[in-house]
Symmetry: D2
Subunit: 478 residues, 4 copies
């Protein structure tokens, strides 16, 4: 509503009301203006009126929506279905240009602006935990695919010590989740698996083995260490500062798989510290695991702005703006204050969850695994199933049937072939973990009620299994 319209409106709804309306409209504009000039996530979340208004503004800036627009190219963002058009807020051009996913798209000023702002608020949100972060790139791909792109970008780098193009190995402290291993293979590298060491109940990075292995392979043939900062207990987050020191010393890059680590300040501190004492080229996280959006996006972040530009130039072609829209809307409607609050609540609930799980464990002769370094995940032993390795998955299955998702049961000594590598003790990230166990997590957004309901259901399942033979406690298995 420009001032000409307001003048006309005054003739219809009287001067003071029109002015009051205009003033309110201006207040909203100031929210966007402040974001753009401070380049910071707003402290207080925006209401949906503001968000919808801004999304409509963005849409009106894209050429496919220009009044009188005519397109004669091969791609004109014509959208057949109104349902599809509406859910995409009338945006059709995606983000990026053929050469660079972060580049401005001439046909789509609105989408481009949205993309820039999404990256600004994402960086701002990351800096809440890791203040020295210099740049980030929101990608409309899974974390694993972002890892692939990061590895591919790394291969094209030329550092002081020469090009990385010929390097073949990725040192990978074992972490039993398929995505990461697959990312290494997809990118065309050979993973070098480093087993952890057992400290108490916890599985900790064998830093010495990493260094030994780099030297044995020849540092000039090693692309990077791909460490993991967020993982299921009993594995601890990797000792990032120590790894970073080894990387700096040997001239090997260091990429951190920080999938859901942003939500924990403990993990953020590890990354921040690692970058101070050694080398961290990039850390990669999922948008959905940290920011409560649907699956589909990831963020590559770095203390080196140039490296982020390299990654952004690695994605060939334009990409979906959907995950970017989701993240933008979520972050601005959350605001920094709510995000901090969610992180704090999570920490408090983590302690609560441990206490509740410890009670259940004791009730059935099991124990809470002592994994003090893992700030998100926790586990209890399932020793009663140690001898019948398969059966412990029944617990998981019974819980899923009781509508508990996300819990995993890991039997002792499972053998499994993943991407052609044979793993023993698969699931535990160690070939010799001494327990069968059940593991779960207190991730961002969890509520006290979630924990109460879950522990109650777990109690019932444990009871059912402990009073009968294992073979009888099974139900149809998913």
């Amino acid at each position: 509503m420009n001032s000409d319209i307001i003048e006309l409106a005054k003739t219809l709804i009287s001067k003071p009301y029109a002015e009051q309306g205009q003033q309110s409209r201006r207040q909203r504009e100031k929210l966007l203006q402040a974001l753009l000039s401070n380049r910071r996530l707003p402290e207080d979340g925006w209401d949906n009126v503001t968000i919808e208004l801004i999304m409509a503004e963005f849409a009106s800036m894209d050429s496919n929506n220009f009044i009188g627009s005519v397109g004669v190219g091969e791609r004109e963002a014509r959208i057949f279905s109104e349902l599809v058009s509406k859910r995409n807020f009338r945006l059709g051009h995606g983000i990026g240009r053929s050469g660079d996913i972060a580049a401005v798209q001439p046909k789509a000023a609105g989408s481009s602006l949205l993309n820039k702002i999404a990256n600004i608020v994402a960086l701002s949100a990351i800096k809440i935990g890791i203040p020295e972060t210099k740049a980030c790139l929101v990608l409309p791909t899974a974390t694993g695919m972002a890892l692939v792109l990061t590895l591919l970008a790394l291969r094209q780098k030329i550092y002081g010590d020469g090009p990385y193009g010929e390097r073949k190995y990725v040192i990978w402290p074992r972490m039993d989740q398929k995505t990461c291993l697959k990312a290494i293979f997809t990118a065309g590298f050979e993973p070098i698996v480093i087993e952890p060491v057992l400290v108490g109940d916890e599985l900790v990075t064998d830093v010495a083995a990493i260094e030994t292995r780099i030297n044995a392979l020849g540092a000039k043939l090693v692309l990077c260490v791909l460490s993991t900062s967020s993982c299921f207990a009993p594995r601890a987050p990797d000792l990032l500062p120590q790894i970073a020191r080894v990387c700096a010393k040997t001239g090997v890059a260091h990429i951190v798989n920080n999938a859901y680590g942003l939500q924990s300040q403990t993990i953020c501190d590890l990354i921040q510290k690692a970058s101070r004492v050694g080398r961290v080229d990039a850390f990669i996280q999922s948008t959905d695991k940290n920011f409560l959006v649907p699956v589909g996006g990831s963020i590559v972040a770095s203390f080196d702005k140039e490296f982020i530009e390299d990654v952004s130039k690695t994605y060939p072609g334009r990409a979906s703006s959907s995950p970017i829209i989701d993240l933008f809307i979520t972050l601005v409607s959350m605001g920094a204050s709510k995000y901090r609050q969610l992180r704090k609540e999570r920490e408090v609930l983590m302690q609560y969850f441990k206490n509740r799980m410890s009670e259940i464990a004791q009730k059935y002769g099991e124990k809470l695994l002592e994994t003090p370094s893992n700030p998100i995940s926790l586990g209890i032993t399932l020793s009663r199933f140690d001898s019948e390795s398969q059966s412990c998955s029944y617990i998981g299955s019974m819980l899923f049937q009781r509508r508990c998702s996300g819990v995993r049961t890991v039997p002792k000594s499972l053998e499994k072939d993943v991407c052609g590598i044979k793993f023993t003790g698969y699931g535990s990230s160690s070939s010799s973990y001494p327990h069968s166990y059940l593991v779960c997590a207190a991730a961002i957004g969890i509520t006290e009620k979630d924990i109460d309901v879950f522990t109650e259901r777990l109690d019932k399942v444990m009871k059912k299994c402990s009073t009968r033979k294992v073979s009888n406690c099974s139900e149809s298995h998913i």
Copy 2:
């Protein structure tokens, strides 16, 4: 996006793109500006980007959406459900004030502006057919309820010949649809039914009887003639100019039930002419029947601005803005040109429909009713059912089961009690119509395909009924 924001955007997406975006944004603002300064329905329809942007602007002007707003009254437009909020475009205050449904609502500048604009575009759309219309009022009530309000407003009028408060009778040329009769009773008046005269196949207003009756009752006791301009064949639209002359002569008001008459220029001309040669106080139409919106709204229009103000002051309390939102969005996305086109297409299809129905009729020994004055509805005889009055409704029922809606079958000489009045030949608007018949309509939005599919299905149904005994052609009856 004010210019400060655009300046900031230039630093993110480069100057020319930001400017191109801004220019496009301005073009959209000019659409609204033009509407407000010309007070006319735009010639070309607006796209959804523009409409959504403007709805978001309206929302931002309402006090319940003010940033930092706090409400301590009895009604603060707090909305519990996000689904509800979203479907109402974040508007919550409805329209009007306690005293006047057209008044500006101080808490809701945006909703008030929307309401004013909706009335502007509605008037503009009406003037396409009836150019001398002076004012109109979009009401979030059914046509029948709008009739009630109009009658109640009339009762409160004081004209040269004294107050209307004591007048008790409403002269009503018979039209067999419940709503209208009920409206008269609900408003507290006594209907005086005037039977039509048969001219060819057509039922035509008995103007002489109207005049006679007014004089017999005493004109000072007659509130108005409530005529009907759109109706199902074989009834013709009332002879509005002739009635208007009688009303002018006798000092009786004249309200036209124009339910779906706006879509036909023939009917519009009748109303326009009536106001020139005699008295028309108001004409009332449905929004859904004329403008392709969901059921729920009506428009009271008049050649006298003051009378519309009277009606608007009759509705006590604020009202739902939903039918107003629907009409506003529909009219601006239609634009005057598309509306004219739809009206023209309807006229062409009316002729086509007549031809097709005539063919079917002949095929089964029936005939198209000759009702040249009715520009929207048409009928064919169902003489084969004349003797078994009930059975002809089976045709309708069988058609409904074949997913044909809107068709009516009228048996000869049906007796029915409506609002305490006994009618003979109910459905035909005459106590002595000589045929059973089937009637349908070519209403705005109808397509050639509709007509083809319908006549094909009718053909099958007629065939089925003509080859067997009537009693066998029945199916489960709805």
Copy 3:
């Protein structure tokens, strides 16, 4: 998803997942099934997935959405704009039939079912406060219009003591809000205003005067007493049981304007008790003021099922389903437990609000009005403005400019003409209220933060006014 589809799905996503999905789907169906068999508002609110699924089911049952449907009537629920179609959940036929707003619409089984269910959950919600309620009717009109329809329905009644058709007067304990008075006039009756009596700071119904007046006019000429149960302080809710007794004794009907009374158990108890000890024909409330939906709907409720049917037959024509959709969605997503919780929170906050207002009042030499019978609204004196009657509206104006809505300032002895009746002390509901004052309310949905922010802003405004001359404290006045 019927079982055939699930069988096919098993071939795509494996048996157990398809079955898990089907089971979840069934759980949702059971929610609706339970509502329909218990005819009760669900205890726990439904999630949006369920609601959207059910709305889509309703849509698929309406004839305009039938696959292969063809319409040849005058009203075929063709919807031009996809935006409009979507916001109406693809429903187009509104509710009701020409003769009865509660009747099933043959063309629209889905809309009709929705309407029936909305009335079921509305009744169930009312019974939380007033358990002996027998029937209710959700109307897509303002409360004032619902009053009109109720008065018109009453006029058509024939009771043991004869028809009500000739009764002219409505006894109205004065309550200074335009809507109610206008409703009486619109319906064609003459209001008889009964002044309240002052008890402490509170304005209380003069029951004796009501009885005297009925007798003086002749009970057979009095249609009803139209009492008010929810109102701004210092007026108290009317003494409903006492009025009900007078009505029973004199054979006069009793309609309660319960605009926002459902949210308060105290008021609900008054209505319940009145119906036990005397006569209550109907009580009427707004949907938005009690259930946190946008303005646009009202509910007529009664202890007599038949009277509700009478009212439903008074509305001529079909009506908008929008307010019904809003109410249905809101009530089922709220659930009985959340509704009870909101009511309780309101009560607690009412006390809190009183305390905070009392503090502010004392700080500026004013006092909280002692109005113990009013459970929703509260006021403080503005004695410093007693002598300058106009100026106290500045306070309201300044608060509105500070984004506080809903507060009213009432000067002493304001004279005003409403609907042709001259009132003294307009706004206070009394010709002789001894104070100027400011009044606000703790309505359902209010939060502690609302109260804190409001009292803080009020504090500043009072301060500003008390340190300077009144004439200087004014700002541009809305």
Copy 4:
């Protein structure tokens, strides 16, 4: 609505209406059932009622939406923003599992089913043009990224003649668009550029050079030929059958970049024929360029089912379901018949466009480029700018400012460095194209009006440039 609910509904809205509603509901279920059992794109498009119902069904099958669900994992599809939740139809889990983007996700039966069905309808749509296609994979990535994944999948293949892991070269018939070249580099291969030969005005594949080059490099070191089937004139689609024969002979893979080729039957025939006479491993296309959805998805298709499975296992991690939702909704609402119609209209308009452009060209002393093999794109010479190579971009710039998008102007002999390779005549796909020219396209969805408006604006721009000095015809350049 299961039959229990329908039974209950009968008590509310009468038996026949409830049954009619149920029948309509069942008809909708049959649409999905038919799709699942025939595994074919429906012939007629579905209405939005059906689509919304099915999307709601899918949502209800995902575990994050289970009633009573509790999540204790690291990723629980909690969605913070209702706006985000709604636009994603309440789906949160994305598609795929860590190991395989096509795998069923246990937590998300609904999303998984949607994904399977999207792939079914996509395959069906592709088979309209290329009937022998065996499998396809819809990916939520740009075409370029899909090329990367395909190349990476190829590297992991072991065929009869040994593993492809050591192959380094990709033979690439030059096509001047950045994405493709970047895809080769990102995947870690070395592109071998093959210049086209000039035939008339057209640039045609130099098949002999391809074969010579493969042999020179050593076929065992060549991963594949990456050919292009859709491109801007004057380049012709590659001679796919001939290339396919060379590939088959030399044991080199063959990937076709079919970005927007599906819309043209001529191009589809080329691919189909190539697979019959030689080797085609996969062909890759964009969803937005062929199916009128927003940018963001691509489809890898093949005549070999197994290869598609390999590609689907290459993507590490789950991915966004947004592009899949868009494609599913679009294809089922389009239906096969509308898709065929759009393709036919495009072909007719291509001829029309050529005629109009030829007229314009002649008017200004230029000529339409004779490029009979290119069925989508066409160009006209801009010989007047031959000598001032930069200036011809002004034409493009002026057209963009007149809201014409998609047109490209290519100056003669532009030199450009892309991904470290030096190209002469960049833009024309040839180092020695003899003209400057302007090129545009008749892509699916184009309308006659688009062409008319464009040629009119082009006419004006050409006029402006031809009457003045070139330097004066420039405007601010985007």
